[in-house]
């Protein structure tokens, strides 16, 4: 018995070392593209084209020029501001509206609730491609409201509504006891106050999950914003990266710097909020 464990222990140790080595190799492979971006963002165009793989110390023109160029040419601050406005407004809007709608559906088991909920669940399988053309036709051709930030915020809200309501619905059903509200009702609290003062605080865990999921999706979305926004002053970060990349010329150094700038805000946030983000994403998927 004693012997057996020992053998098992040794075996396990070796296996763990192999596993660790394997992981490190895979990890480096995973990080390789980022590494290349960082290295080349500091080089000059000629060096990048002629020797992209060379390390920094083997070439002469190491500089931060690319960052300066990318920063100004991408109009980074403006794009960052646009992304921030759109992401924050849409996230707040969809969180509140979806929570309220889900709450209504759970508490009012009428035909409208049932039909809406069923429609929402069904709509989750509609690919965006099936909606984008009529969307442009209605909001562009008929209503003439494309190219406004508020239109994009509204659409983001609409598109993430179904998923958000679905998640809130599940949570409210399982975790919010009706007794609390009934007590409040006796105290003469209005429904609106009951919701904001009693129900909403109870939803904290699911709210943080939904905020993370939605905010990530809004921040990174490309196709929808590309259909809605064309005015250069309104472009979000993915859009300005796309337009910056250009069709005719590839100024690699500046592009690498631009890509790095684009990734930075998220990475910084990730480093700070790593636990919450991973937790939120897992919760969002597993529920």
């Amino acid at each position: 018995m004693m012997n057996q464990t020992k053998v098992g222990g040794n075996k396990r140790k070796i296996a763990n070392i192999v596993a660790m080595a394997g992981l490190i190799i895979i990890f480096i492979a995973y990080m390789f593209p980022f590494l290349m971006v960082v290295i080349n963002s500091l080089k000059q165009k000629r060096d990048i084209i002629k020797s992209p793989f060379s390390w920094l110390f083997t070439i002469k023109g190491l500089s931060f020029d690319n960052f300066v160029k990318a920063f100004t040419q991408m109009d980074f601050l403006n794009a960052f501001k646009n992304s921030l406005i759109v992401t924050v407004s849409a996230t707040v809007l969809v969180t509140i509206l979806a929570a309220m709608l889900a709450y209504y559906i759970v508490r009012h088991n009428n035909a409208v609730s049932k039909a809406t909920f069923a429609l929402m669940v069904a709509s989750m399988i509609i690919p965006f491609q099936a909606i984008m053309i009529p969307l442009v036709s209605i909001y562009g051709g008929t209503l003439n409201v494309l190219n406004h930030r508020i239109t994009l915020i509204f659409m983001h809200t609409g598109f993430s509504m179904a998923m958000s309501v679905f998640m809130f619905h599940g949570f409210i059903k399982g975790n919010v006891p009706i007794a609390l509200e009934e007590a409040a009702c006796i105290d003469g609290c209005t429904h609106t106050r009951t919701f904001f003062q009693i129900v909403l605080p109870l939803l904290k865990p699911i709210i943080s999950t939904m905020v993370i999921l939605n905010a990530l999706a809004f921040w990174n979305d490309f196709l929808l914003p590309s259909l809605v926004l064309t005015d250069k002053k309104l472009l979000t970060l993915p859009l300005s990266t796309y337009s910056f990349y250009g069709t005719y010329s590839a100024d690699y150094g500046t592009i690498m710097a631009g890509l790095l700038l684009c990734v930075l805000p998220i990475l910084i946030l990730y480093v700070v909020l790593q636990k919450q983000i991973i937790g939120g994403v897992v919760a969002g998927a597993v529920k």
């Binding site: 165009k45 000629r46 084209i49 931060f64 020029d65 960052f67 300066v68 160029k69 990318a70 920063f71 100004t72 442009v136 909001y139 562009g140 051709g141 003439n144 409201v145 494309l146 190219n147 406004h148 064309t230 005015d231 250069k232 472009l235 796309y242 337009s243 910056f244 990349y245 250009g246 069709t247 005719y248 010329s249 590839a250 100024d251 690699y252 710097a257 790095l260 700038l261 930075l264 990475l267 910084i268 480093v271 700070v272 790593q274």
Partner: protein
Amino acid sequence: MKRKVMTRVIASALTVVFMASTLTGCRFGFASDPDDPNEVEEKIPIDTSTDTFEYDPALSGTSITLLNSKAEIQVALEEMAAEFEKKSGVHVEVMPVTDGDSPYTKVVSLYNSGNPPTLSILDTTDVIALAEEKAEDLTAEPWTAEAQEYLTEVNGKVYSFPLCIEGRGLIYNKTVIEEALGETFDVSAIKTQDDFVALLDRLVAAGIEKPISMAKEDWSLGAHQLQYIYETYDGTSEGAQTVIEQLKSGELDLDSYQRMTEFLNMFDILKKYNVAKGDPLGADYDEMAIDLADGKTAFWFNGNWAWPNLEEAGAKTTDEYGFLPYFLNNDENDFANQMIQGSPSKQVMMDGQMASEQQKAAAKEFLNWIVYSEIGQQMLVKSCSLIPPFKNNPYEPQDPLSRDIYQHVQDGTAFNASAIVPNDHWSILGAAMQKYLADRCDRAELTESIEEYWKQQK
């Protein structure tokens, strides 16, 4: 516990590095940057002392917008607009189309957002698609007389202003050829396809192993190369249209169409001497500019718009670059072997649907100012480095590529034929051409896909 510490340390290290780089970015961002292309090192002076143009004082204070799809002239256009505002009081807001977007998509989306630009710089095919639905009729404008052969008509009416002439062909680097061969290079001695091949072989013998660069981009292959089969029909836009109509109806059999065979023969020659022969679809546009400027190659199939790339790669305006025709055969008298293609590829369309009468009048004044005022004439050529299609413009372009095209236009050795093809022609047939370039299909398959494409057009 230890694990946590490690994560923390790495995390904070990363943050510090990233913050540092962002901050440096910031700090430098506000300083003057010598590499910034927006800051032209030596500005070409514009003489504003004489101005005989008559401005309409009633238009002062009007505000119009101009959508610009030629990114390389954005700064120059803004300067032009500022100058015009100084003189006329009309404010012209220049909006760029970002590179990733097609000008057509952009202008349609601006119509969709309810604020279309008063003026928009578009490709000819886009103007034709939008003309009758959206554009203002410009047939009665005076400048039509100055650019007669460069006007585009839709059902007998002019809906657009030709902004510039653009030409394309085989760009050569004269110095490289002369250094390799040890003799002066006389362009006019190259008269036929055989002459050209002989020259290539001599260059190879002299050590330039693969003397040609050709772009793999679909716009280059699908629009600039393939369109020779329409445009060399007889060297006119009408001729090009005839070929297209016949292809649509299925009347024209490409296998027996002389120009198609000739075009492919020339294309095969370019393919054979292509510097990226080993991986033609991996060729890099910027590398081509560098190779030509450095002398690794001697030719690059492209147009005069390639100058900024060459300049960035180290070429100077005093260097000797020029164009050779796209040789189609060995007949010295064939116009295709003598002339360079040069046509008004960019057109300015005026909104006729939502603009006010006041705005339309101001926009018309701006167009007239470009053609007739001394300042407008100068700025079109000197600030924007465009080749003016207007006969009355006395100024010559500055860079060697535009200068060469300009010279050809002046000497009558340029042919103006623009094939009007659908918006997806370059991408769909560009893909077919890429396939042929990579030796993934034979001539028969390429011809078939071209015929197939045209049959689907209504």
